[in-house]
């Protein structure tokens, strides 16, 4: 990375952290009781939750990862952008409203409604923790790499820059979640979404300024990008498909994981419990889709722009694919703008890890502790929240350690892709069937969650993304095999067993999920 002498980036980081700590301080006073702590008292409005969903979703993999992917693979990278937005139709059409109407705090609430609660919650909680951990470790590794490159002088004595950055991000995340709960997490995500959107708009405008605001000139520059491939210098048209994925099945498999994975991501799903009713859940998806769509269309400008204005060789020499967006900001703007974009990337990571931590700790406390171990009764008032706080602390400490052990070289996009595939294969079949299929039962849910979870993880381990010398599975993403397996497991498990109680309670779930009758409303203040 070219030298930058001033400390503007550091000041901006500190300003953002200070702002979020103020948010946490005021949230902490209001995070009393389960509903307040886990669901922000269900008083978040539609546009606020829409911004927060967008903030939760556009992770380091989106801002840094996709910009880099487009800068290196052109059109094939842009396919990620498309999948990330269209996936919200699955959320809007099938999941958001029934979930809000029939659930309380976690994804498993909907499953537990008419199935045997203890086994289903235990497995759903395991799946939530798995998805969240993969996602979180990826973000932490990204954060460590980013901060240690952006603030080269930053380190705690006795530790490397990477480890110190991971620890700092981890501690901040624990503070937000342990003290501020869902309310603080929500506002951190809203702040981040606004910062990210404005940073991306500015960056896109600066790119187009280089091309005199002419789309013709911009797209023409993409038809001949020069870079050094594995076999020497290459010139390629970056608007053409096939630069990254030679096998069409790779693209289809990735598409499946993206389209069906979002509706199974626990940290996105629990956001719909923070609003007063299903109608607000709906409007928050609309807000999120507007923001997310605009953002991913802008990846055209700063992704392709990085390819054309910097070139893959320059980016590789100055910090690698994940640094494409910040490097572009440095080239086009002042140092202050570079510092701003870096702070935005940092804020992005912090907000996402906070969202992941609260989804993991809510699931552990509500599903596993209260409902599996204590049969749905709290031993003492406030116990559930207390367990969640302790879990958040443990989850944070664990992911700090894992990220430090894995080190800065680990591939971030690989872990996030895995999280999407696991979510689509394990969680989505169980959620969709329990809402829409009367015959569905506990055995089906267990089989679906189990096969989905197991097959996606095993396939990733034996794929080219795994560490095997000779991959047994040819595709980078397991979605095309593991998602049908998850659905198939759920169907077979259901058909092999009979559970009259589950079927008899379908009427209740149908009425609740379609009308909102009996759903918990916002808390009074």
């Amino acid at each position: 990375m070219p030298e930058h002498k001033d400390n503007t980036a550091l000041y901006m980081f500190v300003a953002f952290v200070a702002a979020t700590l103020v948010i946490t301080y005021f949230s902490a006073k209001r995070s009393k009781g389960s509903s307040a702590y886990f669901a922000a008292g269900r008083r978040i409005t539609g546009w606020q939750n829409g911004l927060a969903v967008a903030g939760d979703y556009m992770s380091a993999a989106s801002f840094l990862g996709i910009a880099g992917m487009i800068a290196f693979s052109g059109y094939d990278g842009f396919l990620y952008s498309v999948g990330f937005l269209v996936a919200y139709l699955t959320v809007l059409f099938l999941v958001a409203e029934p979930l809000r109407n029939a659930g309380k705090y976690t994804m498993a609430d909907v499953l537990a409604y008419r199935l045997k609660p203890r086994p289903v919650r235990a497995l759903a909680s395991l799946s939530t923790l798995t998805v969240s951990s993969f996602y979180m470790v990826a973000q932490m590794v990204g954060a460590g790499a980013l901060v240690s490159k952006l603030l080269p002088g930053f380190s705690v004595p006795g530790l490397t820059g990477f480890s110190s950055s991971v620890i700092c991000v981890g501690i901040l995340m624990i503070v937000y979640v342990v003290f501020g709960g869902m309310l603080a997490t929500t506002w951190v995500q809203i702040t981040k979404a606004i910062l990210l959107m404005s940073g991306s708009v500015l960056l896109s405008i600066l790119v187009m300024k280089e091309f005199h605001f002419s789309f013709g000139e911009f797209f023409h520059s993409l038809t001949s990008i020069h870079y050094t491939g594995p076999k020497g210098p290459v010139t390629a048209n970056f608007l053409q498909p096939g630069l990254k994925y030679k096998n069409p099945l790779d693209v289809i498999s990735l598409g499946m994981a993206l389209l069906f994975g979002t509706a199974g991501l626990p940290h996105i799903l629990i956001r719909f419990y923070t609003v007063p009713d299903a109608k607000t859940a709906r409007s928050s998806v609309i807000w999120a889709m507007a923001l997310i769509g605009v953002f991913y269309i802008m990846t055209t400008f700063f992704g392709f722009g990085a390819a054309s204005l910097l070139g893959p060789d320059y980016i590789t020499a100055n910090g690698g694919t994940n640094m494409s967006a910040p490097l572009l900001a440095q080239k086009l703007g002042t140092d202050v703008f570079f510092a701003f974009i870096s702070a935005v990337a940092f804020a992005t990571i912090l907000a996402v890890v906070a969202g992941l931590t609260i989804s993991a700790s809510t699931s552990f406390a509500h599903d596993f502790y209260t409902n599996v171990l204590y049969y749905g009764k709290e031993a003492r008032p406030g116990q559930e929240v207390k367990v969640a706080r302790i879990t958040a602390f443990i989850v944070g400490a664990l992911s700090i350690s894992i990220a430090i052990i894995l080190g800065p070289t680990y591939n971030v996009a690989y872990l996030v892709g895995l999280a999407f595939a696991v979510a689509a294969s394990a969680n989505l079949p169980a959620i969709v069937f329990s809402i829409f299929w009367k015959r569905f039962n506990t055995a089906g849910a267990m089989c679906g969650l189990g096969t989905g979870l197991l097959s996606s993880i095993v396939l990733i381990l034996i794929s080219p993304a795994g560490k095997l010398a000779h991959p047994l599975f040819p595709l980078e993403n397991p979605g095309i095999v593991s998602i049908p397996l998850g659905f198939l497991g759920a169907v077979i498990g259901t058909l092999l067993s009979h559970e009259p109680e589950a079927e008899s309670r379908f009427a209740e779930l149908a009425v609740r999920s379609n009308t909102g009758l009996g759903a918990e409303k916002a808390t009074e203040h």
């Binding site: 009393k32 099938l94 053409q240 598409g255 009308t515």
Partner: protein
């Protein structure tokens, strides 16, 4: 699991919770009832059998099922066309912009239009739900 010696991080100890603590004897607010306690209070079967409710479900299905099939097919047309019909997709349409990029861009428009149609349809469902609920509360 229970660790009574740990400092409770809850700012106000003994805060209200919506999960029933053991041994509480007074009646709980409606939203705290567990599913089992609530089972006898509302006749879900009767509501599910109401003509209005059945109508609501079929109206929703008439929109959601074709809508879902449409966006899944439209979305997967992109990787299939890009993967197996590459020469066609590389046809330049406007200046240097090819069919592949325009089709990808059309996915954004498709998602927004479908979302807008959903909101419009859902406004009608909300009315049906409100009618249904007022009818139930009258009984």
């Amino acid at each position: 699991m229970d660790s009574p010696n740990l400092e409770d991080l809850t700012p106000v100890v003994g805060a209200q919770t919506d999960v029933a603590p053991l041994g509480r004897d007074h009646s709980k607010p409606a939203h705290e009832l567990t599913a089992a306690e609530e089972a006898g209070r509302t006749d879900w079967e009767a509501i599910a059998a109401m003509e209005e409710f059945k109508q609501l479900l079929s109206t929703k299905a008439r929109f959601i099922i074709p809508g879902t099939i449409f966006f899944v097919v439209y979305y997967f047309a992109l990787p299939v066309l890009v993967g197996y019909f590459r020469p066609l997709m590389e046809t330049k349409v406007i200046g240097d912009v090819n069919l592949a990029y325009l089709f990808a861009l059309s996915q954004f428009a498709m998602a927004w239009i479908l979302a807008a149609l959903y909101v419009k349809a859902a406004a009608g469902w909300d009315k049906k739900v409100a009618d249904l609920l007022s009818k139930i509360s009258k009984r």
